[in-house]
Subunit: 175 residues, 2 copies
Amino acid sequence: MSLQHALLTSLIEKPSSGYELARRFDKSIGYFWNATHQQIYRELARMEEKGWVRSSEDEGGRPGKRRFQVLPSGKEELTMWASTSSDPIELRDEMMVKLRADAAIGPIGLADEISRRLALHQERLRSYQEIEVRDFSQASLSREAQIRHLILKAGIAFEEGRIAWSKDAQAILQQ
Amino acid sequence: MSLQHALLTSLIEKPSSGYELARRFDKSIGYFWNATHQQIYRELARMEEKGWVRSSEDEGGRPGKRRFQVLPSGKEELTMWASTSSDPIELRDEMMVKLRADAAIGPIGLADEISRRLALHQERLRSYQEIEVRDFSQASLSREAQIRHLILKAGIAFEEGRIAWSKDAQAILQQ
DNA sequence: CCACCCATGTAACTAGTTACATGATTTC
DNA sequence: GAAATCATGTAACTAGTTACATGGGTGG
């Protein structure tokens, strides 16, 4: 269950409300692990039960707004989890199923769908590259910054790969 | 719900029992959409209820062995689904969460884990490349073969990307 | 005062995982 | 005759998605 650990990491970086976490998951963290606000609230409640985090009404904030912070046992749990080995993700891509269906039952016109996705990948790549220029173009980066850069580079490489692949796919499907 | 559609595709390619499907999912199809036998049996039962597939006791086979084949409404459903647009997958990678945790709480020794994964990716790449040489090295391929090759190339590109990234990660973590 | 954003949640569902269980057939 | 493989399934759980619901605060 990585969502809890993703939330712990995020809360260590900055104690926040569920809402703020959900918004951050729409951005940076969500690029490699996304979640809806419902899931986030549920997992925060579970983590509070287990004593990994604590929430307090935010003084001066809106009424009802709760700020979560990580407790020592949460940090311990995160450390333990992060040093346990786990298998790399499996790709689980609908597009491949569709292509295989196309090959099995005959052309169903996937070229447009590929084009649409190509555009999406290009857009994402552009946004990642903007972040890269903005945050990681200095000559010497701290260890922490280098690691965050590394994560971003995984995203960039993935999008670049998909773009190249999509172009290849277009060529084959448009024959 | 792509698993049902992946199963339909697989059954169109070759009518099979649940067990055979499960074994095939461990290989080719499972490279981009994996499933356990429990899930497969459940989805086959649901598809039979909906009239997408039909099963019959396999004469001459083992007792109890059921062979599934796709009915017209199943093929129709597959065609419809495959021509509906859907968003590309999100990467959901535990490793990225771990790296971010490492950056947030300090070094937790991820270098070994990266090495372990590097080896796994290299092994997968090797196995994909074997398939490529075996099945797709002819000069001219049919449309169907080109599409299956395209699917394989997505896997190859992904593994190559991960290998390059892992080496980069090793360099940064071993500093 | 209306629309939009902040902020939290419940309920119901679908998909995927893990553990357990059973029995037949083939192979050594 | 024992072990491996074929073949099917149930039960219980965890994770993720979709739909619905509520109310306060802010800006035009």
